[in-house]
């Protein structure tokens, strides 16, 4: 009597061959955002951050771009900059409040980061008649001896 191979299953000792549990030479820190599919050369589905610096930069960017209420069950997660953009009329006032909010969010969710500099630039697009604000944040991570790394986030004035 013939037995179908479908009935065989896999041995527990072959679990090591599972891509998700396969040992790697470099263990990724996290998924890089925005999500990108990997080129297939590695075991991962998505492109991953292979070093801590990139992972922290990714996380910081996402933290600053998140507004209150966007995160399930964590209403106060994020820097909540969007409401500021809704009443953007004075650069100095915006900068002052944005810095406070970013600093608060970093202290609360990524306290190992030390924000160093803040800079905002407003751009007006005549083609689609929209303004956006680019914010450059320079920060250090003393524990990792990272000095003055920088991220830029772009926010649309609404």
């Amino acid at each position: 009597m013939a037995i179908s191979f479908k009935n065989v299953g896999i041995r527990t000792d072959s679990l090591g061959e599972n891509p998700l549990t396969r040992n790697r030479s470099i263990i990724p820190f996290g998924i890089r955002t925005p999500l990108q599919l990997s080129d297939g050369s590695g075991p991962e589905i998505f492109v991953m951050n292979d070093n801590l610096k990139d992972q922290i930069r990714d996380n910081l960017k996402n933290l600053i771009l998140t507004n209150y209420g966007e995160r399930v069950m964590q209403y106060n997660f994020g820097a909540n900059l969007r409401p500021l953009l809704a009443e953007y009329y004075n650069k100095d006032a915006f900068d002052s409040e944005a810095m406070i909010r970013i600093n608060t969010a970093i202290n609360k969710f990524m306290p190992f980061i030390v924000p160093v500099e803040f800079e905002s630039v407003e751009n007006y697009s005549y083609s689609n008649k929209l303004s956006n604000v680019k914010i450059n944040i320079t920060y250090s991570i003393p524990n990792l001896q990272i000095q003055k790394d920088q991220i830029q986030v772009s926010l649309l004035v609404i």
Binding site: T21, N23, R24, I27, I31, N59, L60, M73, F77, F109
Partner: protein, 624 residues
């Protein structure tokens, strides 16, 4: 894989926990689980990372599921349920009737002025009979805050008592120059209910099982009538399986002054139930599930009608049937297809309907008729004279009970039941029969000594002077009809008159010399009078002689009891014009008190009650 590694994997799998309920604990466990099982895929599970975000999504779903599960369990219990639909369902299952605001009831004095006529014997005047009207139920009386009250019963000013005197109170109205009465003012009491009347109609198309119709007004307090254009009357029942209703009719027997109405059972093939929505307080009527076009005489469907005839066959195949056909009988009530149903109901109520004395006056709508055809001018005079006033405040108006209040009623309603099982059930049913059908003052129950399957009920009533009398026959008939609907099928009740044993007490006491003897005697009589007040006595209640002695001793100035005698008084004792005493009528029961005294306790006859009927005469004492 080595055995050690296999055990490690199994250990890890066993680390799954199923006790986490909330977001934080689920998230913590998911992070722990991810760190253990996927250490080589991702290192950063913090909340700022994308992986952390995805775990939080999963924890969120778990949290919602837990909440939903908790919520559903809470909704299974009336005490913890929060959704009004579920509370409503629990309340209905518990038997709690959801009601809106309640109307107020008031005893209104109705007044009319009628011309007089000289008596036939020329001795004085009497009201002109043809001018005496009936004020019909439905007459509307306004309150001073705009609330309307409506008379619930016809008030016939022609009614006479057993002595052929008018039941209405009569006083002199206008007089002529010789001070002879020109008009009499007649007054009678009538009960009125507050609220507003509304009539609505709706059409029924082709047959529709359990048709529902929602009345447009909220807080409906009473559905007065439901009729269709074919003349059918629909009766309200508690459940559609109830196929009969109590119906009251006017008592024309000799005891009509004691029992206003007769109670009868009426079949109700056309019937409906009403339910009030707990939020909107709108009432929905649900009619029967059968069609009037298929009405038959069967109360229950005849199973033989469903038998399949076997014409010339010895075998038959399996077949299907529609159980819905069973519904098209009178079992769950019927409704007339292609008809127009008219509903008349009363709605409205609340605390604002409780008004002080004198604030409900006159008539807004006066439904007056004259059974003896007076001349139009006299009828108009009487009609114009009609007035009404409330001597006492209207009461009973209540705002709609809140959901919490309704929930609190559920345990009490659950404990009650609609049938008679225990002695307490029986007595509660007897005492709660609506008073229109006669009022039982005392009732007792004891096994029938002859028939072990029967129970004997002894009842009695009170007359207008609060003296005990045998209950009128109409009351017993009404009680029989009433109890019959609640008794178990193999229970039997014999309703008998309780034996009234009138007693007198004579005491001789020694008083303290420094006390006024008359005052001591009067104090003792007053105390005995209080003790023997009929409200304190039940059927089959014995008299403990020591209690009486104790009452006497507990009066200031009583030194000793020289003598204490109990006597049975019966028959009629004529009044004495010299002594200025009225005739006293006692029960005709002869009862030997001495023979029924044991260990200083006087026992009444089975199903009997002791009564001190005329306290001024039956309690006598001598003070030495």
């Amino acid at each position: 894989m080595s055995t050690e590694s296999k055990n490690q994997i199994l250990k890890k799998i066993k680390q799954r926990k199923y006790l986490n309920r909330d977001f934080d604990s689920l998230k913590a466990d998911l992070v722990e689980y991810a760190k253990v099982h996927y250490p080589n895929n991702n290192k950063d599970w913090s909340e700022t990372s994308l992986a952390g975000l995805l775990l939080e999504f999963a924890a969120y779903v778990g949290d919602v599921d837990s909440f939903y599960l908790d919520h559903q369990f809470h909704e299974l219990n009336l005490e913890t349920a929060t959704e009004t639909k579920n509370i409503e369902s629990h309340l209905r299952n518990a038997g709690v009737k959801i009601v809106g605001s309640s109307p107020a009831v008031v005893e209104q004095t109705l007044l009319i002025e009628v011309p007089t006529i000289l008596r036939n014997d020329g001795q004085g005047y009497r009201p002109l009979e043809s001018a005496i009207p009936i004020i019909s139920a439905g007459s509307v009386i306004p309150g001073n805050n705009g609330v309307l009250f409506q008379t619930t019963d016809d008030v016939d000013f022609n009614d006479l008592d057993p002595d052929d005197e008018y039941i209405a109170d009569i006083s002199i109205g206008q007089t002529d120059t010789n001070s002879n009465p020109k008009t009499y003012i007649m007054s009678r009491k009538a009960f009125c209910l507050s609220g507003f009347l509304q009539t609505e109609s709706f059409s029924v198309g082709s047959f529709e099982q359990f048709k529902t119709y929602t009345l447009s007004k909220d807080n409906v307090t009473e559905i007065i009538s439901v009729t269709d254009n074919f003349g059918n009357t629909y009766y309200e029942v508690d459940y559609l399986t109830q196929d009969t209703v109590f119906k009251r009719g006017v008592n024309q027997n000799n005891d009509k002054h004691l029992v206003n109405d007769l109670l009868t059972i009426k079949p109700a093939p056309y019937r409906f139930i009403s339910n009030m929505d707990i939020n909107s307080r709108l009432t929905t009527l649900t009619f029967g599930g059968g069609s009037a076009q298929t009405i038959n005489d069967d109360i229950l469907p005849d199973p033989s009608e469903f038998a399949v005839p076997l014409y010339g066959k010895r075998t038959f195949s399996r077949f299907t049937l529609n159980p819905g056909n069973m519904l098209q009988t009178t079992t769950l009530g019927i409704i007339a297809p292609n008809s127009i149903i008219t509903v008349e109901y009363r709605y409205g109520g609340g605390l604002t309907h409780n008004l002080p004395p004198g604030s409900i006056r006159g008539f807004t709508t006066l439904l007056m008729s004259f059974p003896n055809d007076p001349v139009p001018s006299v009828a108009q005079f009487v009609r114009n004279s009609a007035d009404s006033i409330n001597e006492f405040r209207s009461s009973g108006g209540e705002d709609a009970p809140t959901i919490d209040e309704l929930k609190l009623r559920a345990p009490a309603v659950k404990a009650s039941q609609g049938r008679i099982v225990s002695k307490e059930d029986l007595l509660a049913r007897i005492y709660t029969m609506p008073s229109n059908f006669g009022r039982v003052f005392r009732a007792s129950q004891r096994p029938n000594p002859v028939n072990p399957l029967s129970t004997t009920i002894h009842i009695l009533s009170r007359d207008a002077d609060n003296k005990l009398i045998p209950s009128p026959d109409s009351l017993k008939n009404n009680l029989s009809t009433y109890l019959n609907q609640f008794r178990l099928s193999n229970d039997a009740y014999d309703i008998l008159d309780a034996l009234i044993v009138n007693i007198g007490i004579t005491f001789t006491i020694m008083a303290n010399p420094d006390q006024n003897k008359n005052i001591v005697k009067q104090n003792v009589i007053n105390k005995l009078s209080e003790y023997f007040a009929i409200k304190n006595f039940e059927i089959d209640q014995p008299i403990v002689i020591n209690d009486i002695e104790n009452i006497i001793y507990n009066n200031t100035g009583v030194l000793s009891i020289v003598d204490l005698k109990f006597t049975n008084i019966n028959g009629t004792i004529q009044g004495d014009p010299i002594e200025k005493t009225n005739t006293r009528v006692y029960s005709n029961s002869f009862y030997d008190l001495n023979a029924n005294t044991d260990k200083k306790i006087i026992f009444p006859p089975g199903g009997g009650i002791f009564e001190v009927r005329y306290r001024d005469f039956d309690l006598q004492g001598v003070v030495l």
